[in-house]
Amino acid sequence: MNKMMNAKFLLMLVLGMMLITFTACSDGDETSAGDTEDTTTNEENTDNTGDNTGDTADTSGSSDELSGEVEFMTISLLPAFEDYLNGLKESFESEHPGVTVKINDVPYDQVEQLVLTKAASGDLPDVMNLNTDFVKKAGAKGALVNMDEAAADVKDTFFEGIWEAGSVNGSVYALPWYTTTSGLIYNPELLEKAGYDAPPATFEEAWEMSPTILEKTGAYGEVIMPEMHFQFPKNGIPFLNEDNTKAAFNTPEAVELWTKYKEYYDEGLYDIDILLNQVSMAELYAQEKVAWWYTGPQLFRQVKDLSPDVYEKSLAGPPLEGTAGKQHANPMNIAVSSTSKSKDAAVAFAKFVTNADNQLAFAKEAAVLPPVKEAIEDPFFAEGEDSEDATERGKFYAAQALDTAENMIPPVESVSGIYEAIHQAFQRVLLQDVDPADALTQAEQEVNSLLAE
């Protein structure tokens, strides 16, 4: 009898646990049950991304009658830009009464994992703020709407070099939202001590000045930063061949460049800790251990926070140029999920967020640049030309650089692998005295095998 009761009790317990388990696993709507269907839909969308951007489940027909709920995932913009984002939401909702926009801000360091988790459950946000690397990964997998087709009408409003940022495997999968290029913040006192009255204009000049600066002041001049891989395109050395199927950076010019970098390293002109992210450039500059910092002007304020005195005496100049004379622009992007249930509304909202007026308004609130040509013509971006403030002046120079700027990230999925291969090779040159030509050959082979996968 007791045994029977015991068995009954255990059975009830197991059933209870199963019930709770299955209840917990179900999200209350069709999503869970439709996981397989979602996959099918995803496949269909992958194949026909461009064709069916106009077909949505809940759109009544014409684009003027948009409806549905649009989840807009932003990255670390709340609470700082709450008014701006709410303004966007309200304006769009008043233009399209059938659409409800839901803003969901997520911390920067959790974006990728969160998007991956949502992608795995077939529940990607309709409109997403994504960085360029991730756009390429998700775009290559067919998770994003093809903007070459869905936003063809606004393509020409963007700077061409920046529009291409979201490009992977020949199609663009995101609209650039805001961007940065570079400026130069420099310490005129250190330059004066070393006998210079102006900052360098090119990387070549920068390296030429560095030994004297180091000798006279003890501070570094030019240094190799963690984004060293962009030195290739900035000096006219392409990452990949024209059809993006093979590495193209193993050239005599690249060997010469790395040979020089190795010589500078051996001469003590820079240290590897900056390259390895062990110290921050903002800290080094604020401590007057480096004479200039080539970076986006939105970061100049870090110097002010760390050392107001150093910031006060700092000036801004145009960004350093390589032999190609081009600057890298790395935009933050707006992408639309290819599985969105309100795809028309989502695409319309993405275009709305990235139109000239809204980009300009955002650039005025945040220290960023609009990737839309019309917005950059606003007198706001010329205001800093005569400013004594390094950030304001830096913004002017960065805006000037937009015309020739382009996104230099290779238009393939395995971007992080390519950078890693180049970094490892360069570290071998510095730390293990590997011949630059051999290191580049090894990196080339690694990149080729990545691209072949």
Partner: protein
């Protein structure tokens, strides 16, 4: 029967949580290790390909080597050193609880905060090199030199972990009968002999436990490497779990990352069995 029913009632919720958040994901990960799942595309069965790839992958071999090296640096120290500290703070002295608190304090600091603090201290112009300069030792690039990076990371792990294991030993020491020490003293045993012949045999189960959990901790360590070095320089501090993270969340190779995880699981299992064979014996 009544007691059993109550026991099961209390156990059911933890069991359910364990089932939901440990067993089911683990089984799902084992399944994924036979696929080339990348989150966005449908799952594709690839059989043992991921496991074959792992054994051919020089990065994985290097990560496994780094993990074993780190384990060998960390675990012996974390097994032995806390015993010494525990014996010291087990004395009945005035203010001894303050010392216990001081030794335990690093455990309370978050790993990320610890990592950032030690990253500054290990910098070329950091405080460690500053003190070493008094001994005539020149600047050492602790975290930027492939041959010193693991030593530095192991030091931080020991600094943060020894207080935790000290607490286990302290609990075990409280259970050692004082009469045994007295008997040893009567036999003329010295301080060291008392501990070698009385303490160590009686806390052997705890030594086994600490060995197992510090081994698992060492094999699973990831936050320190991610925060302090990102696995560099030249992948000298890329551990197996860091590689799993990079493969899963940077390269989106969920299937391959799952396969590496399972290989790591097997390695930990084997090491635990070896530990058990040598250490898990009842005190005689």
């Amino acid at each position: 029967m009544y007691k059993a029913r109550h026991a099961w009632s209390f156990l059911s919720i933890p069991l359910l949580l364990l089932l939901l958040f440990t067993f089911i994901p683990s089984i799902a990960a084992l399944g994924l290790s036979f696929t080339n799942y990348n989150v966005f595309d449908p799952v594709e069965w690839v059989g043992l390909n991921n496991y074959i790839q792992a054994f051919q992958d020089s990065e994985f071999r290097k990560a496994l080597f780094n993990t074993v090296y780190y384990w060998l640096l960390v675990t012996p120290v974390l097994v032995v050193f806390p015993i010494l500290i525990a014996v010291l703070v087990n004395q009945k002295l005035r203010g001894i609880s303050m010392f216990r608190l001081i030794f335990y304090f690093p455990v309370l600091v978050s790993v990320v905060v610890t990592a950032i603090l030690w990253k500054w201290m290990f910098a070329k112009q950091g405080i460690i090199n500053y003190f070493l300069s008094f001994l005539g030792i020149g600047e050492i690039g602790w975290l930027i030199n492939p041959s010193t990076v693991m030593l530095a990371l192991a030091f931080v792990t020991v600094w943060q972990g020894f207080g935790y294991y000290m607490l286990f030993y302290l609990a075990a020491l409280q259970g050692v009968p004082k009469e045994l020490y007295e008997a040893c003293e009567l036999d003329g045993g010295s301080f060291w002999q008392k501990h070698i012949y009385v303490t160590v045999p009686l806390i052997k189960p705890m030594i086994f436990f600490v060995t197992v959990i510090s081994t698992m901790g060492a094999f699973k360590e990831f936050t320190l490497m991610l925060t302090m070095t990102s696995g560099g320089p030249l992948r000298a501090s890329t551990t197996a779990v860091l590689l799993v993270f990079q493969e899963a969340f940077t390269e989106l190779n969920m299937g391959y990352a799952s396969a590496i995880s399972f290989i790591l699981f097997i390695v930990i299992l084997i090491i635990t069995f070896i530990n058990q064979k040598f250490l898990d014996q009842n005190p005689r």
